[in-house]
């Protein structure tokens, strides 16, 4: 799975995700990637999110929109909401991670797996990439 989230100069947010699923999956199986609110979500008032991992768990917990809801209704920060959802998914058998970006500040890139191919760039234009912790 691959994905991207962005905030532009006008303050607009967007998210995109693309995947092949998992090796030898049941034909017809669809994971969270194309499920808006589970694997992909964006709302200018809160955040944009793209996820990767155990799709069925991300769907059941509507992971991406859950982060938005925690920001909107529980006044959590992006980092609190994103990390909290990933921790909750892990305790329910879901492994993987996500990238999220809010109305301001740096993105959040939490994961509970051994690693996640990831990267981000801020207004300084410096590309930061990582794989493991």
């Amino acid at each position: 799975t691959v994905g991207a989230v962005a905030r532009d100069a006008a303050g607009n947010l967007a998210a995109g995700t693309s995947t092949g699923g998992f090796t030898a999956k049941r034909p017809g199986r669809v994971g969270d990637t194309p499920i808006i609110g589970a694997g992909t979500f964006a709302d200018n008032a809160t955040c944009a999110v793209s996820t990767t991992g155990t799709g069925e768990i991300f769907i059941r917990f509507t992971a991406a929109s859950e982060i938005s809801a925690r920001i909107r209704y529980a006044s959590q920060t992006l980092e609190q909401a994103a990390s909290g959802v990933i921790a909750e998914l892990f305790s329910n058998g879901g492994d993987g991670g996500l990238i999220a970006i809010g109305r301001a500040g740096p993105p959040s890139l939490p994961f509970n797996s051994s690693g996640m191919y990831r990267g981000f760039v801020l207004s300084d234009g410096v590309f930061r990439t990582a794989i493991h912790r």
Binding site: A6, I36, R118, F127
Partner: protein, 175 residues
């Protein structure tokens, strides 16, 4: 005026730290930087977040290191089924495709659904028929078929046939 920013991921199915040689790690970092560069080029010229995520995902889809499009894994029937979704935070416009194979960049297929259909999610044959009428590049099965993914499929099918337990790593399972 907001401060532009971009984040990307190439999946959580990473090789373990001890199993990744420096050359493989370098290849992944290079690919991730290429995706960041593509998206940042858009944002740094006052382009839209929607365009930035589109080109960043396209760059990752074009790279067979990652499990999407050209690097997509096979299902149990030896076929490729790709999914993609995209959403704009400005107006909650959204589009998605599921269970398709053909468009070189499934993220463009999702965006076409968002921009040129009255639906949010299109799947299977109906999606492919809709996409055939869009201005999207298609590729043959051979373009998406990589030796590494064929090997991974055959190993998993052999394991299932033998009845051995599933001890696959994140990398083996998710590609």
């Amino acid at each position: 005026m907001a401060e532009p920013s971009l984040a990307i991921h190439g999946g959580a199915g990473t090789l373990p730290l001890t199993g990744m040689d420096p050359a493989m790690a370098d290849a992944h970092h290079t690919a991730l930087r290429a995706a960041l560069a593509a998206g940042w080029k858009v944002l740094s010229k006052s382009g839209s977040a929607l365009d930035a995520v589109t080109v960043a995902v396209m760059t990752l889809e074009d790279d067979d290191l990652f499990n999407a499009a050209r690097g997509a894994v096979f299902n149990a029937d030896g076929k490729l089924e790709m999914d993609a979704g995209i959403m704009s935070g400005r107006d909650r416009a959204a589009g998605a495709v599921a269970g398709i194979c053909g468009p070189r960049n499934p993220i463009l297929a999702a965006r076409a659904v968002m921009e040129h259909s009255e639906t949010v999610l299109l799947a299977g044959r109906g999606a492919e028929e809709f996409l055939a009428a869009q201005d999207i590049e298609f590729q043959s099965f051979d373009y998406f078929c990589t030796e590494r993914r064929v090997v991974a499929l055959n190993q998993e099918l052999a394991r299932r046939a033998s009845g051995a337990p599933d001890t696959r790593s994140d990398a083996d399972r998710h590609g």
